[in-house]
């Protein structure tokens, strides 16, 4: 496998674009940089940033999308997190929720553990794996023009959607969301389901 060319997109810029005018969008973020990225774009009640459970972001999005078929669900995660949950491509493909989009911010690194290269740095193609699992709407996004086209697809096109967005391997200032899972849970459910959903 050969090294692809250097990514040019900035991950915070990508996430700001994905979450612009987010309205009623439900957002799940994988642990680490993806959670900081969505928080940098605004710490909303309808964010569910993970602090653990590596590999679970896409399946959380699946359960949420099946439970809320009228709402758009966007999972934003990293390449390392997605690599730990590859089976979820097949599971999502079988359920085929029209309202689910999964975006992998692929910096080809394990950013929280010392910036070691992930498998994608050596050519592992996450969009290709998702396509082979049966997800029809897959793409790999590499520049600003492609990003602008992709945002509309990710936000509005029929799912399930799985897009890889190649981003620079920068270490950015942390934008830390609340850490208490029970608080995140109640905040999310109350915003989505009403005050009676509080535990």
């Amino acid at each position: 496998m050969t090294h692809p060319k250097q990514p040019v997109l900035d991950r915070r810029h990508v996430v700001e674009n994905l979450l612009a005018d987010r309205g009623e969008l439900l957002v799940v973020a994988g642990l680490g940089a993806s959670a900081w990225d969505i928080t940098a774009a605004g710490d909303y009640a309808l964010n569910f940033p993970l602090w653990g459970g590596m590999g679970s972001a896409a399946t959380i999005g699946l359960g949420l999308a099946l439970a809320q078929p009228e709402r758009r669900v966007l999972v934003i995660t990293g390449d390392g997190e997605m690599l730990m949950g590859l089976g979820s491509f097949a599971t999502i493909a079988v359920q085929a929720p029209k309202n689910l989009a999964v975006v992998v911010l692929d910096n080809e690194r394990y950013g929280e553990t010392g910036m070691q290269e992930t498998h994608t740095a050596f050519g592992t193609d996450l969009a290709g794996m998702a396509a082979a699992a049966g997800i029809a709407a897959t793409a790999t996004i590499r520049n600003e023009a492609e990003l602008q086209d992709a945002v509309a697809v990710i936000r509005h096109a029929e799912g399930p959607i799985m897009h890889v967005i190649k981003v620079k391997a920068d270490t950015l200032p942390k934008a830390v969301p609340p850490k208490d899972g029970a608080y995140l849970r109640d905040r999310f459910r109350m915003a989505l389901l009403g005050d009676a959903a509080a535990v």
Partner: protein, 171 residues
């Protein structure tokens, strides 16, 4: 395994508990129940590639206002240990129903290590565990575990003994 009603008892219990999303990794012991879940459109039967996916799936389901359950083989308990952090840290409901291998007259020695440690493994992770040895107790145990799970919210598991399911014999 023939002429048994406990899989139907589990399904009735899941209906009584308003479970909608049923994630599963197949086990021979769950064959009938999985068939019932696939055939009945009151529930959504969701095949998983690994039990870990079930923890995420059911977290998402409940965040979205639906209840779910995870059907699995006892060996799958080993696969979910770290993922339980999510249900535990967020105090999410998690109802698991596992049919056990490696527990009673097991013919496959590779099944025995997890079969012998599954219950303790779950308890170490703060999961309420009901181990059931008699077929007539299975449905009631699922209701009881569901109440623990959804009223908590908390994690609860029903382990259906290999004595109920019977052990495979590779002759």
């Amino acid at each position: 395994m023939n002429n048994t009603t406990w899989p139907d008892d589990i399904f009735r219990a899941l209906m009584d508990l308003d479970v909608i999303q049923v994630g599963y990794v197949p086990d021979a012991g769950h064959t009938k129940l999985i068939q019932t879940c696939i055939a009945d459109n009151r529930v959504r039967a969701i095949p998983l590639t690994s039990e870990e996916e079930g923890i995420g799936l059911l977290a998402g389901a409940w965040l979205g206002g639906q209840r779910g359950a995870l059907l699995m083989q006892g060996s799958g308990i080993g696969n979910i240990v770290n993922m339980l952090c999510m249900a535990r840290a967020c105090r999410l409901p998690l109802l698991m129903v596992a049919t056990m291998r490696g527990q009673w007259g097991e013919m496959n020695p590779w099944q025995v290590p997890m079969g012998q440690t599954a219950e303790e493994t779950l308890k170490l992770q703060d999961v309420t565990v009901y181990s059931v040895d008699r077929p007539e107790d299975v449905g009631e145990a699922v209701i009881a575990a569901g109440r623990i799970a959804f009223n908590g919210p908390a994690m609860a598991a029903v382990l259906i003994s290999q004595r109920i399911i019977g052990s495979k014999d590779f002759k």
